[in-house]
Symmetry: C2
Subunit: 142 residues, 2 copies
DNA sequence: TCGTTATGCAATTCACGAAAGCAGAAGAAT
DNA sequence: ATTCTTCTGCTTTCGTGAATTGCATAACGA
């Protein structure tokens, strides 16, 4: 059970936008360099985020990405789901037919509890929250 | 972020021992067949469990594995850590030197909260608990 | 019209999870 | 003693999916 790079980069990326304060349109090149993320990989991630309505893209000179909403309205969960789809620890959780044992498996029951806790934590924290944490530590954009 | 097969098989394996009621010495072949787990893979997992003192091994004819303690004294967390070492969602959590940004990263802070929740859930459930859940559903050993 | 930046796929690389293999040690049964 | 069983401790292989790169194209601003 491990947090993936895509998830990490995605969060760090939007957090960079938050740190810049809301609506500034920022090119991937800037984010990638500032946070040391492979640019093409970040592009892929941000395309998902754009499709999901977390960010909006602007092409051309002085284009880039910007948040579509107030950071306080975007939960970490939303970002994670945009990046890698519905969140599940095990296939059998969303798909009971995946295993012919789902209805009497205690492990599955436990993991559903665990997953619920996970989701609740990710849903109860918004980008604005994380932004404030950073701010309190004196993090600068560049 | 995904639960691994090794983790799943490990829990299912010890749960089989619990279902057999405590101290019965059971060969891997039986567990592997009953729960449809690749036997050699399970062997590797159980070797870790044995090293960690979760189970004890007996060689020779009518040998196999048995729990060392009462299921009520073995937490799910203990089993998971025996299988895959210290539990962390991201390298930078146990090892602050992994990234030169650990002291001002809000994502890391959040993941530490998440991880704490995870660990607490896994620690607050024992094998006996899971065994009872199964029992309540009428799960039989074979 | 030119340079910049995102878009959409394809292709590639790479790490690690997952699984299999095998020689050997330990032990029980006979 | 011998034999059969079962774990032990590697080594090796396999496969999937993560992680990364590449490229041709579209949109857009200057
Ligand atoms: S055995 Fe249990 S945990 Fe594993 S796939 Fe089936 S239901 Fe899920
Ligand atoms: S950027 Fe943050 S989350 Fe990523 S490795 Fe560094 S401290 Fe950990």
């Amino acid at each position: 059970m491990q947090f993936t790079k895509a998830e990490e980069y995605g969060i760090l990326g939007v957090l960079y936008l938050v740190a810049k304060g809301g609506t500034a349109v920022t090119p991937l090149s800037e984010i990638a360099e500032a946070r040391e993320i492979p640019e093409k990989f970040l592009a892929k991630i941000f395309q998902s985020l754009a499709r999901f309505g977390i960010v909006r893209s602007y092409r051309g000179v002085r284009g880039g990405f910007a948040l579509t909403r107030n950071p306080a309205e975007i939960t970490v969960m939303a970002v994670l789901e945009a990046i890698q789809g519905p969140y599940h620890l095990l296939r059998c959780i969303p798909d009971p037919d995946h295993c012919d044992n789902t209805d009497r498996c205690a492990l599955r029951d436990l993991l559903m509890v665990v997953e619920k806790g996970l989701v609740e934590t990710f849903e109860s924290h918004t980008l604005a929250d994380l932004g404030e944490w950073e701010h309190a530590k004196g993090v600068t954009v560049i």
